[in-house]
């Protein structure tokens, strides 16, 4: 247990509280709002779907978590959440699944009672399991009309051979169709992954830390540990560029995605911090290529880098939407030129400092309500189970030099590790 003072970067004091069963709670008091954001972060996502035919199951299981327990059946749970007027929902990502309720402070204990109960005692029958599969298929259908969903699925499927990042979080359509047959599997999924040693509670808002710790002891103390980490296949080193063209059933401007293999998130790895900054420097709104292709030449509608953080090595991706088919080779060439420049030249020190300032203010300005604080921190907490990671990452960012940025460009922008997806719509 550690009482952290307010640091220069993260503006709130917080406390990390560990139970003997492995459950970790991170408590961040924010006085005055009257609200508490209660996030339960299960460190399991579509990354953990190792069995064939089970893509999308972590997300599906998230839906099942709303199907009740013997003590609080689904209708009772719904009713209690409704009575509290909670902002309650859940989402699943590649690396984690997050359940949240934002409630008035006086409801904190009631939320803890409800949440600790369903995470320990979830119980549902096969009929409701099968009905929920229909809702998941509906969710797939609603997003399928979007070209980005088609692009993203193709990109992961092409870039990865063995690792579970090969599939998206919603999963392959065939596996979604097949979900109703997975009742028994779902029970084992719950037993293996929904364990205290794989869960972090992130509680932010108008709360009394000592009283909250006592509640955590009472409601979660008896939860049995027993997390069984899945054996996630290692992705073999990519040995050659992969290029794929995919078609979209609808009209869209062509979209080009250029993705390079990255590293797993590690707040202490200088190259990880440098890659994050590199994405914005090279392809963000103030980058040279943005100004050239978006503003001056107007060849593309936008361009951006998505160099985010993941538990295992994933992708550093540049996305752009090109206005005319015939300009695609030119746009790709401009992306290559940008990459070559960052690999060979040193970025201007002022530009790097502006980037750091942007990162700092953008983070700080997002921390204005308990819910916003929790949602901003959720991924970091999921990746490391440790809020200190943020502090260390930003310390690392603040020390980055132009040489680090160039080193990151040389490390990651390797042609043999590249996947290019070109999506085109109907004429």
């Amino acid at each position: 247990m550690a009482d952290r003072p307010s640091s220069s970067f993260f503006p709130y004091k917080y406390e990390t509280y560990d139970l003997p069963n492995g459950l970790r709670a991170i408590l961040i008091p924010m006085e005055g709002s009257g609200l508490v954001a209660y996030y339960t972060i299960v460190r399991t996502g579509s990354r953990d779907e190792v069995e064939p035919g089970r893509s999308g199951f972590a997300h599906f299981f998230e839906h099942m978590m709303f199907r009740g327990t013997k003590r609080y059946p689904a209708d009772v749970y719904d009713r209690m959440v409704t009575e509290m007027g909670a902002d309650a929902n859940a989402y699943t990502t590649d690396d984690y699944t997050c359940y949240y309720l934002v409630v008035s402070r006086e409801n904190l204990e009631r939320v803890m009672d409800l949440e600790s109960d369903r995470f320990q005692n979830l119980s549902y029958d096969e009929i409701s399991f099968k009905t929920e599969a229909g809702a998941v298929y509906g969710e797939y259908r609603k997003s399928r009309v979007n070209p980005w969903a088609v692009l993203y699925e193709a990109m992961l499927n092409t870039a990865f051979d063995k690792h579970t990042y090969k599939h998206t979080t919603i999963g392959f359509e065939e596996d979604i169709k097949n979900m109703p047959t997975g009742y028994e599997y779902s029970l084992s999924f719950f037993k293996r992954f929904y364990r205290p040693d794989n869960v972090v509670l992130l509680i932010v808002g108008d709360l009394d830390v000592e009283a909250t710790k006592k509640l955590i002891d009472r409601y979660y103390g008896n939860w049995e540990k027993g997390y069984v980490p899945p054996r996630i296949p290692r992705e073999p080193k990519q040995r050659g560029e992969r290029v794929k063209e995919v078609s979209y059933r609808g009209k869209t401007l062509p979209i080009v995605a250029v993705a390079y293999k990255g590293d797993a998130f590690d707040p202490d790895n200088r190259m990880v911090a440098a890659a994050y900054i590199l994405g914005n420097l090279a392809f963000g709104q103030t980058s040279d290529i943005y100004k050239k292709l978006v503003i001056r030449e107007q060849k593309v509608q936008f361009i951006q880098g998505d160099f985010g953080f993941h538990r295992d090595p994933k992708l550093l991706t540049i996305f752009t939407m090109v206005k005319k088919d015939e300009d695609i080779p030119y746009v790709r060439q401009e992306i290559d030129r940008t990459i070559d420049r960052f690999k060979t030249e040193l970025v201007d020190v002022d530009r790097l400092e502006r980037e750091k300032k942007h990162t700092r203010y953008s983070f700080l300005m997002g921390l204005d309500t308990p819910d916003n604080v929790a949602s901003r921190l959720a991924r970091f907490v999921a990746l490391t189970a440790d809020l200190d990671a943020i502090e260390r990452l930003h310390e690392n960012i603040s020390r980055l030099t132009p040489e680090d940025i160039r080193a990151a460009a040389q490390r990651y922008f390797v042609k043999a590790h590249r996947t290019v997806i070109i999506l085109k719509g109907e004429k």
């Binding site: 409704t82 007027g85 009209k251 203010y361 719509g425």
Partner: protein, 503 residues
């Protein structure tokens, strides 16, 4: 009272009333201020009383294009590239939002950077450069949104926008805010300049500032905005929707593998009155936005697994797929009641529509039970607390209070009403404002002719589930599948997707 509402909101507004029929006092103060001492940021919402309803005929989309250009283009002092460079280290932005009645230019900045940011915000609003290349870029973005994104990439939003055009046919509210393909193509830079000169005036602005600014700051802002040119644009006639009888259907035909459905009709009530809050309670029970407490959600998704969710509204709620709580500054003089059925398998489209219409009828016929009333009352009283957690949102609500001419604050009144309203009042409001006979419905789907035939012939629409269902559900399904629909053939239109938003 919760602390969330204890922040002292004071209004320095006396003049410009944006509500219909209200007149503004020329030269009087036109500000909404929301000081929050502990907030390290400052939020701006600069609202001009101009929206898509002011678009000239044949130039639909002009209000949107004007706002987009001034917030995404050069000023007389800085190129757009330079503006991006200046905003970037502050992690600040200057955004815009255009609805039927109003345009808002908004942004938020850390107080460390207030001076630099405010200087840029002023430039953007007072000294746009109207650069030809910026104009081409912004116009092409809007065209792409209408021609491709809205038509193809988001059937749910498409269905809702088509419903608005269908209900407000022939009124200033009819067209999509972003305009149509042909009208957007016809807009010139001269049109934009003219529009800006007419509507971006000191007599047509409401300035909203919130957060941790210094006490003297608003007076400075006021003095700056007083230097905008004078000009009081003529009011736009009321958007009275044409009356209609029976069930009318517009089918947008496209190669869709699932069907998005929206339906509704105009309602003659807006926020502020007691009846409005009674109706808001009933609407929340029937279909609180993206909430499992929604009755329609329970019937269509939870029990039958037909889709991802089903909701109801009495106020405009754009981009519902991407937000949990209602946006601000989309206030309108005329609202519609609306039900949103998220995409269902094509073979369940008529069944899902019938199921929703039948639930609406049950609500109109039976009202809310005491238990339903009590639960929804409790729910909303707390749920409303999530509507405006940030200074920016509070500011937006305060500005909407001005539009609706509300004395006090909408969300506070909403909460108070949850203690005061009786079930009889709620059920009386349901009987007065809800109905299920005169409805306009939009389906975004394939094989439109088959749907038309099924509708006009009132064909039963039984469904098969891929998974077992309890007997009571199957029994109720028989009633849903034959729920009577009375649609005259002349009241069904089929519109191919590439004609939607075209002319």
């Amino acid at each position: 009272m919760s602390r969330i509402f204890q922040i002292f909101i004071f209004f320095a507004i006396v003049g410009l009333m944006l509500g219909a029929g209200c007149t503004s006092k020329k030269g009087s103060e036109n500000m909404v201020l929301l000081p929050v001492k502990d907030d390290p940021t400052i939020s701006f919402r600069i609202l001009f009383k101009v929206g898509s309803q002011n678009d000239p005929e044949g130039k639909e989309g002009l209000a949107a294009l004007t706002a987009a250009l001034i917030t995404n283009g050069a000023t007389q002092k800085h190129s757009y590239e330079e503006i991006l460079d200046l905003l970037y280290p502050m992690a600040a932005y200057i955004g815009y939002q255009v609805d039927k009645e109003m345009t808002v230019i908004y942004g938020r900045v850390h107080r460390d950077n207030l001076e630099d940011y405010y200087a840029l915000l002023k430039e953007v609003i007072f000294e746009p450069a109207f650069d030809e290349k910026d104009f081409e870029r912004v116009k092409s973005n809007l065209l792409n949104y209408v021609q491709r994104t809205l038509r193809y990439a988001d059937d749910e939003e498409l269905g809702k926008e088509v419903l608005y055009e269908y209900i407000f046919q022939g009124t200033p509210y009819e067209h999509l805010e972003e305009g149509h393909v042909k009208s957007l193509q016809s807009i010139t830079l001269a049109d934009v300049k003219q529009f800006y000169q007419t509507y971006y005036t000191r007599d047509n602005v409401l300035i909203g500032i919130g957060g941790g600014y210094e006490e003297a700051f608003p007076a400075r802002v006021k003095a700056d905005f007083d230097r905008l040119p004078a000009g009081k644009p003529a009011p736009v006639p009321p958007p009275d929707p044409p009356p209609f009888d029976g069930l009318h259907v517009r089918i947008v035909e496209k190669p869709a593998s699932a069907t998005a459905i929206s339906f509704g009709y105009p309602i003659s009530i807006t926020r502020g009155s007691r009846e409005f809050y009674a109706l808001a309670l009933a609407t929340s029970w029937l279909g609180e936005h993206r909430n499992s407490s929604s009755h329609l959600y329970q019937v269509i998704r939870e029990k039958r697994g037909l889709n991802y969710g089903d909701y109801a509204y009495i106020e405009h709620f754009p981009n519902g797929g991407r937000r949990q709580f209602p946006p601000t500054n989309v206030a309108r003089r005329q609202q519609i009641f609306q039900i949103w059925i998220r995409p269902v398998p094509n073979d369940a489209r008529l069944f899902a529509f019938r199921a929703a219409l039948r639930e609406l009828q049950k609500l109109v016929d039976n009202g809310l039970s005491e238990e339903e009333f009590q639960l929804t009352r409790k729910f909303l009283k707390n749920y409303i607390l999530h509507f405006a957690p940030t200074t920016m949102m509070k500011l937006g609500y305060a500005m909407d209070d001005v539009f609706y001419g509300i004395k006090g604050h909408h969300l506070e009144i909403f909460r108070k009403m949850m203690d005061e309203l009786t079930r009889d009042e709620v059920n009386a409001a349901i009987r007065k404002y809800f109905q299920y006979k005169n409805i306009k419905a939009v389906f975004v789907t394939n094989n439109a002719e088959a749907l038309k035939q099924a509708l006009v012939n009132n064909s039963p629409s039984p469904i098969q589930y891929p998974t077992p269902k309890p007997p009571e559900i199957l029994e109720e399904d028989k009633e849903i599948a034959t729920y009577p629909l009375s649609v005259r053939p002349e009241n069904v239109e089929i519109v191919p997707i590439d004609q939607v938003f075209e002319n």
